[in-house]
Symmetry: C2
Subunit: 214 residues, 2 copies
C-alpha cells in the first residue's frame, strides 16, 4: 500500500452547510483530529478569492496534521493556495490539460463513473479516480443515479491507480465500498454534518480499514 | 505607445447572448476582420471544459489575426488553452497569486475601479487595469454604479500601466473615454449584439483612435 493509497482511505469534502455555529475550518480541524488523511475543499458557490483564502486556512491545518489538501474543480485556486492536489469532474479541465500546467508532484484526481472514463483518466495522468455516486446522496445536486458496488469493482479492475468511492457513504457502508475494490471513500455529510465530526471521522476510518487481499 | 498599449485599444468581450443564429466564434471572427486587437472570453455560466474548448477555438482565430486572447476569471482555463492572458476581477484570484503561477510573458489584467485598487494591482504585477462601469450597462448584472469620465482620469493618473474603460461603451462615447485618459475601451454588447460586428468594430477603433498628447 503506497502512501497515496493510505491518504485516500478517507477524503473529507467540505460543505458550507456544516451546521449552525460551526465553520468549515472548525469542522475540518475536528476531522483532522479524528485522523482524516485527506481534505477536499469544495466551494463551487464561492468566488475564487474566497476559495483561495479558505484553502490557505485549511492548508495550515492539513500540513500540521500531515494530511493532504485537495481543491475541487478550481485548479487555479489549488495552485494559488499551494494545495497538494485538485479533483476534477468530467465537466472541469481535462486531466491532460491540467497535468501540463501543474508542477511535478502535484496530485490530480478525476471523477470517473465507468471503467472507460477511469482508463482515460489513468492514461491522461490521473493519480486516482473518484467513482460514484455509490449510493443516493443529497449533498450533490448534480450527482447521477446510484451506481452500486458492482461498478466500483468494475472500475477498480480496469485501472491500476486507486479508486475512491463517493456518494451516500457513511460508517455503516464504507467497509462494503472498500471490500468492493475501492482504496477508500469520500464523504461530505457523514463528517460535515455529523454531531461529532471527530468521532464520525474515526468511525469512517475504522469502517474503511479493510485489510487488502493482495 | 507600446505594442500592449495598442493591443488594448479595443477589447471585445464575448457573450453567449450574441444573437439568433450566430455563434461566439462567428462574431469574434467578424470582430477580428474589423481589426479587434484583443478578444476576451467571458464564460462565467459555462463549465471549465467547455470554456477550454471555446478558448482553443478562439485562439486559432486570434493567432491568425495577430490579436491577443484573454480569458475572464478562470486562470486555469487560460493556462490550459494557452491563451495570452487572463482578466481578473476583485473577487477572483489576487494578482500576486496569479503572477506566481503563470509563465513569463503571460498577461494579467485586473478590474480596478478606484486609484487605490489600480495602484495595488500595478504593485502586484498587473499588465493593465480595467476601470468601470464608465456608463450604465445591461451586459453585466454585477456591475456597480457608473463611475464616469473623471474617475478614468483619476485612475490613469495613479498608475503607469494602461487603463481600459469598460461599461456601456460604444462608438459614440469611446473617444471621450480615451480622451479622459484610457488606453482603450472594452465592450460586450457594442460588438457581440451589433447587426454588423465587423463594421461595429471598425467604428469603435476609429472612435478610440485619439492621438496621445505626450
Amino acid at each position: 500500500m503506497t502512501d497515496l493509497h493510505r491518504k485516500l482511505s478517507l477524503i473529507v469534502i467540505t460543505d458550507p452547510s456544516c451546521g449552525d455555529g460551526r465553520s468549515i475550518v472548525n469542522v475540518v480541524r475536528a476531522a483532522l483530529r479524528g485522523g482524516a488523511p485527506s481534505i477536499q475543499l469544495r466551494g463551487k458557490e464561492q468566488a475564487a478569492r474566497e476559495q483561495v483564502e479558505l484553502a490557505r486556512a485549511l492548508l495550515a491545518e492539513t500540513r500540521a496534521a500531515g494530511a493532504l489538501l485537495w481543491v475541487n474543480d478550481r485548479l487555479d485556486v489549488a495552485l494559488a493556495a499551494g494545495a497538494d492536489g485538485v479533483h476534477l469532474g468530467q465537466d472541469d479541465l481535462p486531466v491532460e490539460a491540467a497535468r501540463r500546467i501543474v508542477p511535478p508532484g502535484f496530485l490530480v484526481g478525476i471523477s470517473a463513473e465507468t471503467p472507460e472514463l477511469a482508463r482515460a483518466a489513468e492514461r491522461g495522468g490521473a493519480d486516482y479516480v473518484g467513482t460514484g455516486p455509490v449510493f443516493e446522496t443529497g449533498s450533490k445536486a448534480d450527482a447521477g443515479a446510484a451506481i452500486g458496488f458492482a461498478r466500483i469493482a468494475d472500475v477498480a479492475a480496469a485501472v491500476r491507480i486507486p479508486v475512491v468511492g463517493i456518494g451516500g457513504i457513511d460508517a455503516a457502508n464504507a467497509g462494503d465500498v472498500v471490500r468492493a475494490g475501492a482504496a477508500g471513500v469520500a464523504v461530505i455529510s457523514a463528517v460535515m454534518r455529523a454531531a461529532d465530526p471527530e468521532a464520525a471521522t474515526r468511525a469512517l476510518l475504522r469502517a474503511a480499514d479493510v485489510p487488502a487481499e493482495d
